[in-house]
Symmetry: C4
Subunit: 125 residues, 4 copies
């Protein structure tokens, strides 16, 4: 269970945190999420750079993922170096010093009483 699996650079071009959200938080918060699996034997700090339509990239956002652990990062929880604006189109690039695997998930609860999901394995660059 200790192999290194995956790639060091991952890309998600189609980000946009849904806003507003309906329903109890945090279960029905609208979110974009990056799910990272680190099968390796040491903790890693991965970095995220966010790209926009109308501004220079912002980053790095830093996220720790333990050895043999996953981490599900809600993009809307990122605040340093800059809080993420909801409902703003973005893309992101994740870089890791060791191979990891990354999946993207969106939960959309903009309509009351409705939940929509979409996701995909990110692109390993």
């Amino acid at each position: 269970m200790s192999d290194e699996l995956g790639a060091r650079v991952w890309v998600v071009p189609g980000g946009r945190v849904p806003f507003p959200a309906h329903g109890p938080e945090p279960a029905f918060t609208g979110f974009d999420q990056l799910c990272v699996l680190n099968a390796g034997d040491r903790e890693v700090e991965v970095t995220l750079d966010l790209y926009y339509e109308d501004a220079e990239p912002v980053g790095p956002y830093r996220v720790l993922v333990g050895a043999r652990r996953i981490r599900h990062v809600r993009i809307n929880d990122l605040v340093d170096p800059e809080a993420i604006r909801l409902d703003r189109p973005y893309g992101c690039v994740l870089r890791s010093p060791v191979p990891v695997v990354v999946q993207f998930l969106r939960q959309d609860t903009r309509l009351p009483g409705v939940v929509a999901l979409t996701g995909t394995i990110a692109y390993p660059a």
Copy 2:
């Protein structure tokens, strides 16, 4: 943050802009979207060719993506060389002079009070 990432040709076979749509525009418009991330240091013009079940391909549609920028392109907004017909099956091929990454997203609001999403990283050819 200035590396070139991705591939020069991307394919999405399963297009079809949902119609009709319900809910306020543009948030709840039915759409198919191509999300492009250009991590490189120069602006690029990418081209789209649309393929159909019953007619020759139409294109190129031209889209600019700035250096270190994303661009989320709604297929239903494309008008030149030919407006896209809603609810018509299509596929598309995106070509870029430099590597980019492409994600496909559909928002379906054909039913009042319902939003359905689906998407995937496109196929890098």
Copy 3:
């Protein structure tokens, strides 16, 4: 627009045509769909083999895709050599004599007044 793009073998392990369906047909029929893009300069006959949990594979199902055309094939419309049973788990393998690109899409309308979508680029083997 005439290049050959893609791969000759594509796999979708997670098939199951949703049943029952609610809403007007064919727009709200429950379906699993394979979307094929043939960017090449000649018509191709692709073949599908369907795999099951409890029976030998069935096939080949034959589907024509014109030169420079797409074809969106609803699995539930396949009848030869054997009609597809709805709500039965299956997987499928598509083979093509020339490179094509394949995307999977499911539309689920088992609940009245609800549409759910999911899809992914198929696996190029």
Copy 4:
């Protein structure tokens, strides 16, 4: 129809079995599912290791997939070596002695009268 297709290691970082669920079981149970296609000529035992945010990986879970068969495994049905806790973030790594293909599917029925789906081909490591 007897070729070996796919890869021997597959990764899904973004697991979380939706809870609670609404609607008749098993059709509307909330689930995460791994769909495995074994195109080869012999039965295989694939193993799953589950990774968590706050604990060491758990496994191997063992699943048989017949020759020329698919198997759709609901993660929430896994009980040995340890039952899966619902609504807990996880990731998983599937290993097979021969090539197989793996697709991930989630069905979310946490809201009464709503079904949401998302899925993707898993990452072939």
